[in-house]
Each structure stands twice: as C-alpha cells, then as structure tokens.
Amino acid sequence: MKRVGVFICHCGSNIAAAVDCEKVAENAKSFPGVAFSTDYKYMCAEPGQDLIKKAIKEHKLDRIVVASCSPRMHEPTFRRCIESGGLNPYLLEMANIREHCSWVHPDDKERATFKATELVRMAVAKVLKNEPLDKSTIPITKRALVIGGGIAGIQAALDIANAGHIVDVVEKEPSIGGRMAQIDKTFPTLDCSACILTPKMVEVANHPNVNLITYSEIEKVEGYVGNFDVTIRKKARSVDMKACTGCGTCYQKCPSKVPSEFEMEMMDRKAIYTPFPQAIPNKPVIDRENCRYFKTGKCGVCQKVCPTNAVDFTQEDELVTERYGAIVVATGFDLFDESVYGEYGYGKYKDVITGLHFERLINASGPTMGKIKRPSDGKIPKNVVFIKCVGSRDEVKGKAYCSKTCCMYTAKHATLVREKIKDSNVYVFYMDVRTPGKGYDEFYTRTTDQFGAKYIRGRVSKIYEKGDKLIVRGEDTLLGRPVEVEADMVVLATAMVAKSDAAKLAQMIGFSYDQNHFYTEAHPKLAPVETHTAGVYLAGACQGPKDIPDSVAQASAAAVKVCGLLSKEEMPTEPIISAVDEAICAGCGMCVPVCPYKAIDMKVIQERVHGKTISRKVATVNSGLCQGCGACTVACRSAALNLKHFTNEQILAEVDALCL
C-alpha cells in the first residue's frame, strides 16, 4: 500500500488569508492513499521541512504532496527535503495553491478553499503514479568556446583562461576588438578607448590558454551542455599566418581600394588589409570580393612584394570541429539603419552622420586625424546638432526600446565638440536624459554647465539642406515653441540593434531570442547571463543594449558560470526526459523534426517475431540533449513517447481525480 503525506502551507498569510488551510488538510485525509495530512505556517522554512521529515519516519510515508507556492519557487527545496528524509526526490508532487489559487481568488474564501482542495486531490492522484527517477551523469569537456571577440568576448575569455581552462575565441572579422576599437574616448572618464582596450587584446592574444580563431564563423553546433561539438569555418585569409610577419608591405602596394568598414567608409582600405593599425592578429587578409587578382586573374602585386612569400591565393576555407563543455555568446550589436527616416533625408545628406562616424572623425588615427571636419567639404563645423533616440523609442519606424548608451555617448560627443572647436555651438535634441550609472549624471551636468552644450527637449521632425547648411526643425517642448537650427553637421544617436545574423546563430546553437533578436536570458533578474539552454551563456550587447562597464561585468559573470561548469569532471543530468516505448513505436519519425533540441534520432533494432528475426526502425532519445519539453510526446501518434514524471498515465490520473 502506498502511503501519501500531504502538507498544506499557509505561506504566512499569502495563502491562509484566502484559503482555509486547516480545512484543506482535513479534507485531504479522506483522499485515497493519504496516510497523513497537516498544515503549517511556512513549509519551506526549517521547522516546516523538519515536520515533513519527521512525518515520513513516523507515519512510514513513501510519497509526499506539498501544497504551497509555485514549484518554480520551491520544488528543488522540497525535493532535497524528502531526499534527506530518505525518499526518492521524484516521489514529491506540488500543488500550487498560491499563484493558482489564493492570489487570484482573494475574495471568496469558500470557493478558494474548494479549489485548493481539488488541486491537492489532483496532486495526490498523480503522486500515487510517480516513479522514482535517478539522475545520471555525463562527462564534461574542459574547453570553452567564446563566440565574438569584442570587449565582452575578450573579458570572458581572459577570465576563463585565468581560471586555468582552455578557451577558443571565434571572431568573424580579421581582428578582435569589436566596436570598442572604433570608439575614441569612453564615458564617463574620457579615457582613450584604444589605450584601455589594446592591452587587453594583447593579453588575450598572448595568453597560453587562449586560442584566437579570427576571420572565422560558426558553421554547426551539435551536442549539449558539457559536450558541444562545434564546427568552425576558418575563412581563407589568403595569407599564411605562420609566414607573415605583419610588415605591411603588401597593403601599401595593393592597388585595389575599398571603403573601410572600420572607418565607416570615410576612408579607404586596400583589398589586402588589416582593419586598423592595432589589429590583432596584426596580419592581413585578402578581401576576395574586391581583390583584383581574384576578380580578373591579373595582379598578384602583394604576392610579389611580400618578403616572406606569405601570400597564398590558393588557400581554401577550412572546417574544423572541436568539442567544448560550455559556450559564451558575445557577438555584440549593430547600429540602426537611419536611412529609414525620410524626414532626416533618407541617409542622403553627407553631413548627417551617426555617432560611430563621429567617433572615427574625432579619432587621431581616423580619416581626419582627429580634427572634426564635416564629410561633405572638410570644413570645421561651427554649429553641431545631436539628435538622440534615433531609431530608439520609436515603435513606428524603429525599435520600441531605449538603447541605453546613447544618452551618455552623446553627452561625450557634445563635450568633445565644445572642447575641440572653441567657437562651436552644440545643440542636443533629446526626449529624456538617461544617465543612471556611477559618475554618469555628473558627466551630463558638466556637459551642459561647464561645456555649455544646449539641450533642447524635443524630437526633431525634419532636417533639410539649404545651401551648405542643414536646417534642423524641432520643438522646444519646455518652451512650447517650434525652433530651428542652421547646422553645419548633424550627428544621429542611432539605436543599438541586434546583429543581422543574430537569429541564425541562436537557431544554430539552440537558444532563444526576443522580438528584436536580442538574446534572451534565462531569467531577467535571477539568471541574467544564462540562456534557457544549459551550458550556453551570454555576454555583452548581444543580449541587449549595454555600455562597456556593463558588458565587462556580464562577461565576467558568464565566465564564472563557465568556470563553475568546467571545474567538475562530470555533471548530473535531469531525469525528466522523454523515453521511447520501442514495443509500440511505429518508426514513423514524426517526432524527429518536432524536437527543438534535436534530441531524437531513429535507430534500427532487431527483434524476433513469429520465430523470425526482423529489423525495424524506432525512435531513440538522447538523454544528454532532451530537455524534457514534451513536444515529441504530443506529436507521437502511437503514444510511444512518454515524458518521465509527466507520463500520460500520470496526467490522466490527475484529470480523473478532478473530473470523475
């Protein structure tokens, strides 16, 4: 005979105020299989847990129902509790009488009590059918992969490497560094971005535990936490990395000019190039689409001038597969395409630029050697307008969210203009100034007070060219009057948006992203660096707009999670997974494409039927990959798939308890 113990929690007054807990406990005594039933003020507290453990012994209980809050909150607590009381943790069932009952029916105690009783009745019926389940273990591969070599990826890699683990960093571009490499000075301290970034780039490149795999992309991801099998496409650099000394002769002589992406196309690079002088690795690649040799078969100048004979036109893309225990995704962000704004000229006015253009304009190694000159005619602008929230907080033409960094970087830009061009006027059109961060608001106050930038509260409605000026029209909403500025240059603080291929990468690895294609954390407050996929962590702006301090902090947090995982030899796996009843599996394969985690394969089994050995196909579930979502169990037409702990029989028992 199975002996069930029922424990009703008051949750202080959270439940007890709306539900007569004593009565529920009393009612439960009459349910089939119940050997003991009681209520208590706080079941999760130590005395509550002791109560359960004691009852298990005294009443020889072999299954437990706790009626309290959501299992999301305390299932692990009570599982541990009954385990230490000597029971298999999966012989626990929880009835959620708080979120599902007392909180939603605060005003009708009688009916809420009735509902709580029914919820408990269902839990009892289910727990009677529960089976003991055991966790198994899998070995962990002690190697981490970081995707993206911006500041977030660099920081995560360094922290993991310093903890003694091997890390591979896969970076799409020819150099690591990300956006931070393009930025001139950083708020709120105005220290030079390169000065603080370059040492980190060098450190990560020289770290014995770090492998930089640049100019490479992820091609395929298989496996699961502890053992991800990742295929990486190393794009052909056309330069032998071992032979190349980085002398630069090739790109001085190369005749093909291409607008430089790094310089926001305000300067040219060559077809054989390193994106910027401090690039790491500081060895060039050939951009085959623009290389004269690859386009016409003639040229080969670089090959001729290279003193070490490193240029190799015959190189091909290389695919390598490596196994990793954990993955950190740190692929960063793109900038919103401001050319959707017809009212701002659809991107056709040369002197309407973005913040990132401005960063290059003000950078000593940028196209103007750090002199702020406007792109159209190289004149030094006197009246500079900044417009914030371009593409941000605009649900019609852009994104509904706030990009978080632009308030601060615009204040930085305003300060720099006033500092570098003494007789300049700076106007910042804004809707709000958002500067929560250490030293941030003080920085903004200095921008207006000491540097004299004029902040005008209002969104700009139109920019148009008049002669060599740009007319900017807004409303000063604090005055309630339309205003106009004759500007020489306009800088748009464009929104931070997800990378255009963000969704593709997430689908490849198998984790979720939001409607804006930013990656979704497992919990917005309590698990901000985890994804819903075990072993995959997030760092930096790929998860949402972030500045450098936040990116670095998140990267270190992700690194800690990785180190925690890699510090173990093996890890337990959750036993609530799907299982195939081979006897009734028809081998139709319907379940295979349904599984979002690619956990189901088909295999061939041999069996004897009427004295003959036949072979037939059946489904098989990979216990390492299955996340227990249950999608397959619904897809299976022969009901051969069952999710352990949520079997058809168990669920039907609950339904019967309620309805019969």
């Binding site: 659809y346 148009y464 008049k466 002669g467």
Partner: protein, 295 residues
C-alpha cells in the same frame, strides 16, 4: 485602360485647365475616362471639419456610382483624392461603416472601387516607359520643382508613394525630358483654404514653398492639386507683394507638362489660363527645340 473620372468642383472653375489637360493627355495616351454622371462635391476639408459621417458619405456617393460600373476612380485633385481614399479605406475596413454609409447615401458601396490619384494612374498603371515613348517635345533644360503637397502621399501606408520624399512626379518629369530639382518642400503643406480664410497665415506658408523652390533653382513648379495651384499661382503676386520678393515662378499641372512634352497645343492645355505667365517658359522651350532642330 478605363477609369471612372471624378474631376471635383475646382476642375470646373478655378482649376479648369487641369480638367482640360487631363482629358487631352488621357486621350493621347490611350486612357479612357468615364466622367461620373452628375457627380457631387466630395465635401473637401469643410465636411471633414464639420462632421465625420458627412465627410465619408459625400465621396461615397461618387464611389458607389463608379462601383456599380465596375471601375476604379481616377481623381486629379489631391484634396478630393484624400477624401475619397479615406472613405474607401474606412468602408473597406469596417462592416459597420459599410452599412451606415449605404444607408446614408441610399446606394450600395462595398469599398471595392478604389480611389486612385491621377498621378498614380499615369505613373504606375500606364507606366513611364509608355509615356516617354510618346514624348516628342522633351522638356529639355527645364528645371522643375515637383510639388506633391501634403495630401497626395498621406497618410503613409495608404499612399502610392513615399510620404517624405515622393518620387513619382520627379520620375515623370525625367521621363518627359525635364530635370527635377532636389528640394525639401515637396510635401510641405501650402495651407489649402488658409490663404482665403486666414491670409496672413496662408501667405506665410506659400512664401516658404515658393522660396524653397526658387532656392532649389527651379524654373517652374509642377503640381497635382488645384488648391495648391491657386495658392502658388494665383496668390503668388500677393505673396511677392507682402514679402517683398520676386519669384516669377510659373506653376503647371503635371498633366500640362505631359501635354507639352507630347507636343499638344499649349492653349488646349489651358497654359494661358494661369496667373503667373507660363507661356513665356513654353515659348523658350519651343525656341530651344527649334534651335536644336535646325542645328
């Protein structure tokens, strides 16, 4: 190609040359226009400032007549077009409104017949290629400021062209051999009836547009709306006097420009009916043409 034709009130009086040129040009281009018999006024901005239902019901009667005939309606006047489009969309999107409207106008209108701007019909249905194929007096060396006005391309998503920087008229000018100028006031509002009812405000609005066109280097302005024409052409001398300026900017309906490029007689297109002398420019064009011919 056959359309119901809704000229609207202005085209039988102050905008008569728009009507003349539309009919002439349509004929030359092979577009058949069936004028809605005994059409009524769409109510323009007055109905829509007074009562929402009336503003939908007046255009609905005309649309209903066209619908019975199974024709879409080509509408030259931008204001009429905007009112008719609003009616079409509201009726199409709401069963309830469809019922109400049918009851008020005592005719069936299901929102099937579409209100189409004449410019849209020429540029997108007929096509620029078919037009340019027939051009024999290209508008060589004429710089035109295409003025769409506010109503033709709004509200966005309903319109046939971009609401901020529309291109159809510019493309048409190019197809006619002319040069569209880049300017930022293509869709800036001219104030419609303000010039009559609140002239200081209306004149200021007109002044901004004329000044912008002049600064952009235009020889003339092209428009698709009789209200805009009144404001930019008839009021031009008043605005010049008030602001001490001298524009001398002829204003054409785009249909007149098509007609000129097709080699039609300027008088038949009503070019002589403007307040700002437009014939001078036409003469210059013809003379240049002649020089090219003899050279």
């Amino acid at each position: 190609m056959k359309y119901a034709y809704y000229p609207g009130c202005s085209l039988s009086s102050t905008g008569i040359e728009y009507d003349m040129s539309t009919k002439k040009v349509a004929k030359s281009l092979g577009i058949e226009l069936w004028e809605i018999p005994e059409w009524n006024c769409c109510g323009a901005s007055s109905a829509h400032l007074t009562d929402h239902l009336l503003a939908l019901a007046l255009p609905a009667r005309n649309l209903a007549i066209a619908e019975a005939e199974g024709l879409d309606v080509a509408i030259p006047c931008a204001a009429c077009y905007a009112r008719c489009k609003a009616t079409e969309v509201e009726v199409k999107n709401s069963q309830e409104m469809k019922k109400t409207i049918s009851e008020v106008i005592e005719r069936e209108y299901a929102g099937k017949t579409q209100a189409r701007a004449l410019l849209d019909v020429f540029v997108n249905d007929l096509g620029l290629d078919s037009i340019s194929a027939l051009v024999n007096k290209p508008l060589k060396d004429i710089k035109v400021a295409s003025y769409y006005g506010c109503l033709l391309v709004r509200p966005p998503r309903l319109g046939f062209d971009d609401p901020e920087d529309p291109q159809s008229m510019d493309q048409l000018i190019k197809a006619l051999g002319g040069t569209p100028v880049e300017w930022a006031f293509k869709t800036e509002c001219c104030g419609a009836a303000h010039a009559t009812t609140k002239s200081d405000v209306g004149f200021s609005m007109i002044e901004k547009i004329l000044t912008a066109a002049k600064e952009a280097g235009a020889d003339c302005i092209a428009t698709a709306c009789p209200l805009c024409m009144n404001n930019l052409d008839m009021r031009q001398s008043q605005v010049e006097a008030k602001f001490g300026k001298n524009y001398g900017l002829p204003v054409f309906y785009f249909t007149q420009l098509i007609g000129l490029a097709l080699g039609l007689n300027p008088e038949e297109l009503g070019v002589n009916k403007h307040f700002v002398n437009a014939l001078g420019l036409v003469k210059k064009l013809l003379e240049a043409e002649g020089r090219r011919d003899t050279a």
